[in-house]
Subunit: 362 residues, 2 copies
DNA sequence: CACAGTACTGGAAAGCATTCCGGACCCTCG
DNA sequence: CGAGGGTCCGGAATGCTTTCCAGTACTGTG
């Protein structure tokens, strides 16, 4: 003990630079392993391991010896060996449809922050909204032995995906998805219905009687929820008709759907755009046809994006907090990883009206 | 061959006794390992390995036997063991300042696509634009033994980061960053200068004589390049003065800088916003002060975002292709991983004028 | 004083696959 | 018919750590 104390305390840190040449053996040759540390300290590898892992059965003398050797050699444990041995990779996979979508990017950010705080790293895969890639990615991630999965699937109905998930033992959290499986999954869901209801109520109050929803892919929960909510809401408002155009979360779909709607015999007086890419398509078509908002048609969009607030007229929207969703999803996963049973969290959506919602024409 | 086939399964494994209890669970609980495959096929593990790795010294009979066993057991190699043994993780880390920035998200998308095509997975870390997190993340990723690093650092000047990188042996690619180090790094750079020059030329042609640049963090290349380019461009236009406000890539900075500029004794006739968050701040302040674009002031922004095209008036911008940047960065990294020396790629920026650029007032 | 109990420590197996080496077997050429 | 070669395969070492088990030494107690 006194022996250790007698050593110049600075050695470990300050020597980083000084040590470099001295280190040549360790730096140039392969980095020191636990064996070298044990040798240098004159103890068994198991003791080194115990010291490093904070095991209680370690004398302070032993701890000092080992730590000295660790410092001297600049030893860093090999995580790969740890992973292999312990079976835990401290890594989670995030299967996301499209990271370039700001909504998903925010979710990823929230998840990564929470995960990293807990010592986990995040492996990211993009399915570019192709259903068949979901399953591929899930399998790939499992081969890498991720401890958990965050799933923002691009298609909930793909047999392949469902199959991969059924035979999966990996703790998983669904991000606003709902699978037709018996297995219990944790999930973070958004309460789309409430936002849609509020929007519809507002539109009806303004006098609208034909409300269209340009929705995204019908193979994911948000779209289904919104559609159901719209139908639901309209039951309370007799005489108001709803029109739904679901398709894909793309600008192209937004554009095409809008064109169809406008060309219909009874075009809508208000449109709800189900997502930010769709919004772009809707706006594009509206602009191309010189349809004025809100004079000719009212508009509501789902999920805020940075620049939306400068749009003229200001856009009414149904929002949610994506960062929070990411945080919650990661939290649920960490819970599961520490033994808790699957759980579902529902996060709110809020409708914010704005100039883009006006009285219908006539 | 029949001789070998006729042999009884070897008894040498004293551990058979130990295996027996596992036997029942082997099917459901623990996935089969290479040992089980070898046993079932009645061959050595080395043979299984050879078959699976496509080694040439394998008879077709052997291949068939092994593959049959693999199928029967649903064997999947344990990547952790492979990683430990081979030292290659087929994983690259991406240190990004802020994934919620659409520009970076697009870059990440491009990189991930390219990387995955080559069999690599991507570990993502967000530094939330905090310089000290960069170094932490680099070290974390290296502990995980990533094969390579994609670096979109939030601060090129941090000693800690520079230090971590200096002692790093990991192949790395800088994404629009420029480090004051001797080490040779691969890099994908954007030619910001050309875009700025075009923008300035256009503004000057319109009659502007006070051009301000609201730039982001001066600790990263894009900002420095833009600032230099502006000064450079103004040398060609005597009588035109430039004003620079660098700070951070945030809405707050954009707003504050704009306020200062407008409050100055000689406010600019045109503003170039150096990034999308900054743009939001600039627009915010302009709107709050009822400064009209382009009647009172002209505006140019850097780096397109989805909704920008609907802004009224249409925004002039200096663009680049982020997806392409991601692709290129990943490509450069893969090159290095296959032995090529570091290399630098320069990608263009293009200026697109629009209604937000008009004649200066008076 | 002896035995139980405590506090550590060392040894070795386990986790899973890759790879070097030596050897068995068969063919061919001298 | 034997030597030289080529083709394949099994054995064992290797990568690095964790963990179970057994053993040592010493303290407390009846």
């Amino acid at each position: 003990m006194s022996g250790a104390a007698a050593r110049r305390p600075k050695v470990p840190k300050a020597s980083n630079a000084v040590l470099t040449p001295l280190n040549s053996a360790a730096t140039l040759t392969d980095r020191a392993g636990m064996r070298e540390v044990a040798e240098r300290a004159g103890v068994a590898m198991s003791s080194v391991s115990r010291v490093l892992s904070g095991h209680p059965d370690v004398s302070s003398a032993m701890r000092a010896r080992v730590m000295a050797a660790v410092e001297a050699l600049g030893y860093e444990p090999n995580m790969l060996a740890q992973m292999l041995r312990s079976g835990a990779t401290h890594t989670v996979g995030f299967v996301v449809g499209d990271i370039s979508n700001p909504l998903l990017a925010q979710i990823a950010l929230g998840a990564e922050v929470r995960l990293r705080a807990a010592g986990y790293a995040m492996l990211l895969t993009n399915s570019v909204n192709e259903a068949n890639l979901d399953a591929t990615h899930i399998r790939l991630l499992q081969q890498r032995r991720v401890d958990g999965l965050l799933l923002s699937l691009s298609d909930e109905t793909s047999d392949e995906t469902l199959d991969a998930l059924t035979r999966s033992m990996t703790p998983s959290v669904l991000v606003d998805r709902d699978l037709p499986l018996d297995e219990p999954f944790s999930a973070v869901l958004s309460d789309h219905a409430s936002g849609i209801h509020q929007a519809v109520d507002r539109l009806v109050a303004l006098g609208h009687d034909r409300i269209a929803l340009v929705a995204g892919s019908p193979h994911v929960r948000p779209t289904r929820e919104r559609i159901n909510a719209l139908e639901d809401a309209l039951e309370n408002h007799l005489g108001v008709v709803g029109q739904v155009r679901s398709g894909a979360f793309t600008e192209a779909h937004g554009k095409a759907a809008t064109r169809e709607l406008l060309a219909g015999r009874r075009p809508p007086t208000a449109i709800i755009a189900g997502g930010n890419q769709i919004l772009v398509g809707v706006l594009d078509e509206l602009g191309a046809r010189k349809v004025r908002v809100p004079a000719d048609i009212s508009l509501v969009t789902c999920d805020d994006v940075p620049l939306a607030k400068f749009f003229t007229p200001t856009l009414a929207m149904i929002n949610r907090d994506p960062y929070e969703i990411g945080l919650a999803a990661a939290g649920l996963l960490l819970d599961q990883l520490s033994g808790h049973p699957p759980e579902t969290v529902i996060l709110p959506t809020t409708f914010v009206t704005a100039a883009s919602c006006g009285r219908p024409p006539r």
